[in-house]
Amino acid sequence: MSIELKTARELMRIVIVGHVDHGKSTLVGRLFHDTGSLPEGKYEAIKGMCERRGMPFEWAFLMDAFQSERDQGITIDTAQIWFKTALRDYTIIDAPGHREFIKNMITGASSAEAALMLIDAGQGIQQQSRLHAFLLNLLGVKQIAVLVNKMDLVDFSEARFADISREYSSYLGSLGISPNYIVPIAARDGDNIVERSPRTAWYKGPTLIEALDSFRPAAPLSALPLRLPVQDVYKFDDRRILAGRIASGRLNVGDTLLFSPSNKTAKVSSIEAWSAPMQESAEAGQSVGITLDEQLFIERGEMASHVEAAPTESHVFKAKLFWLSKSPLNLGGAYRLRLQTRDVAVTVESITCVYDPESFTARPSDTVIRNDIAEVTLRSPALLSLDAADIYPKTGRFVLSDGRNILAGGTISLEGYPDERRLVTVRSSNITEVAHGITAGQRAQRNGHPGGVLWLTGLSGAGKSTIAMALEQELFRRGFQVFVLDGDNVRRGLSANLGFAPEDRAENIRRIGEVAALFAESGQIVITAFISPYRSDRDRARQALAKSQALAKSLSSVAAGGGFHEIYVKADLVTCEGRDPKGLYQKARAGKIAEFTGISAPYEPPVQPELVIDTEKLDIAAGVALAVNYVEGHFRRPR
């Protein structure tokens, strides 16, 4: 026997999907038989089994290994088996066609590099033919061969094949998928599986096996920026090893790593291994252990990256998800978000839409039931390190759990939300705050009221500016030290270098928050009138003031701050769009303004505002009166 050390053959994982009874299991049986991949005796065993049951030979029994399945004639769970062509080996993941077994289809298809989509030539495109394509798209399976099966039942009609090809291609096109091939087959008889069928002489494309062998292995993730989710920290001996599997990119000994969300950095000292040569670098897919040049306190759940290409940090993001749990997902519902090795609480802040399983058109809904696909917004009290799924196939995908079982899987979109990293990063460190010679108490004494911030928030057209200006007038008349910060006086100077992208808007609001805090410290009542759509930005403005007033208090020992007051100027989108005083909504609808709040960018209403002025119910005068009373009650001090 001549022995030669061969390198392992290439393996490709494929999934077979399609509507129930469109012939998946039969196709698998046939593929095995025709490629000579059946184990010895298996064909005979199935033949015997069929004879005992008094039925014709059934290829499907090869896959449906379970007793219960043989009885019911359906595939219950995802099974994986192997066959080989001259080019490489294949693992087939058989995905069942019953709607209630969709979680198994997802379990199976999620790891596939290519998909075979079966359509019955007689029945044509069915509900699951559409659903499965939709899911494949969501799961990121991009190489697809459509197999029009049971061509024998339509007399190998070229016209019928052309009809189905046209209709299905057009549907797939609407999802942004273009199938690589559409092949007419008759799985039971083996037409166009391995051998070109004389019964489809009109068909010039590849056979199924030729199509399969033409697919490419999944693109390597090592070309993307580095992502290394920390899985565990080991101290079995004197080494402190951070363990994890590189999700994308590559790392080298000596690289500086940034850990998110803790925002700490350190250099890679070594890549550790047991019973393997020492490595100087490692790449996507490898399970590694690294040591650092500094003893950082890093836990499971941190994401390591390079400093210059770090994940986006946000408390909130948009997601497209498929819901697998028997109990529905509800607006406001609380779940565990699993982002690689991280596990944090999230709530469902909004449900943008649910896709109709028949037509796949989006419709509004307050709940998402089992097997639905929905677009939602998720919010966490913790800062999240996020990647967009369209760029990062691995780290852009998450699951939701109830702390026990997986309830949903989804993809991350970063559209519309700012990166909060630079807002929480303090760059200058050698600053010492100096105590003022005049205390906040002395200022309040002279003015008859402490300084503070009235932070107006609401949609464009809700009435913020109008109320702010009228309120300033009235408070000034009543002897208050008051000043309005609005878009005009801020955007022209302080924020002249900023645009309207989410990051710029967040930075603009951060600056306004800090400036407002300074004005308040000087004893003024500051009124701000900005849409300020993001809750995290408003919370940060509140913290900016709290910080400076806490400092003032620690220096003067007199509690004198007037505090931060979030005032929600409330009117819904329909009302605001109807008012449209500056014609902005019209422009936004026409696509002339990008990222317009309420239309193409989100607005997050306050959770617990100090005051609500509902301008759908109150006119301007009544709204201002309400605010004046509020200020009199909260700020006025006897001189």
Binding site: A8, R9, N104, N180, G205, E272
Partner: protein, 282 residues
Amino acid sequence: MTAAAIYLDVPGEQPAAVMDHLDQLEAQSVYILREAFNRIEKLGMLWSLGKDSNVMVWLARKAFFGHVPFPVMHIDTEKKFPEMYLFREIYAKEWGLNLIIEKCPPVEATDPTLPPAARSAARKTLGLRDTIAKYGFTGIIAGIRRDEESVRAKERVFSPRGESGAWDFRDQPPEFWDYFNTDLPAGTHLRVHPLLSWTELDIWRYIQREGIPMVELYFAKNGKRYRSLGDHDITSPVTSEAATIAEIIAELETTRAPERAGRAMDRETEDAFERLRAAGYM
């Protein structure tokens, strides 16, 4: 349809992969073992002394940098081959294993409706059940593979077991994108399967690459060798001349005989193995 045009476009550029197939399998198994170690409070690993088990212990030492940081269990039917007991003694020491040996109950304790060889195998199920209860394990790492047997092909990597150790294959939780279900209600436990995606050939190629020691029964003597090791009374050798790892690999590349052909309990009746699995067999 422009299928032909697309087809012609195919031989595209792919950067040379640094990781080969065995590297990928190893990395995935290491990831699974580390997840199990991090997420499961009372974790143990089954060590049957067979080829898959030995690869699994080896992978644990890869994952934990030379250590096996949980107990390794041998559920002993006391009917193994003498070569296997010798192997156990030598390598438990050499590999620094925290070894637990527990004996199985007698055959009389098993389900009398099962065929004879399956009853004999079912002793291991009972032995495992008792061991789990005795030590309070909440997770058991087992070296099963999908290609061994069609029932095992349906397994999850993290597979929950009811209080009786039973496996409900009809209602398994979803598992995708390497997110595993790792938290369980009290009284139940998880089976963790780090070798699920490996094939018999992968195992031997990895043994060859890593130089992992094996029980000598796997290598042919006088025209016979064991492909799968179980109790001596229900396991039979196959006809083979493969006396080295390289020869075994060459043999497996061409054979179409199933691996467990020598394991009697798999084929007594159509559903015997499925019943064993549902009751908690490995």
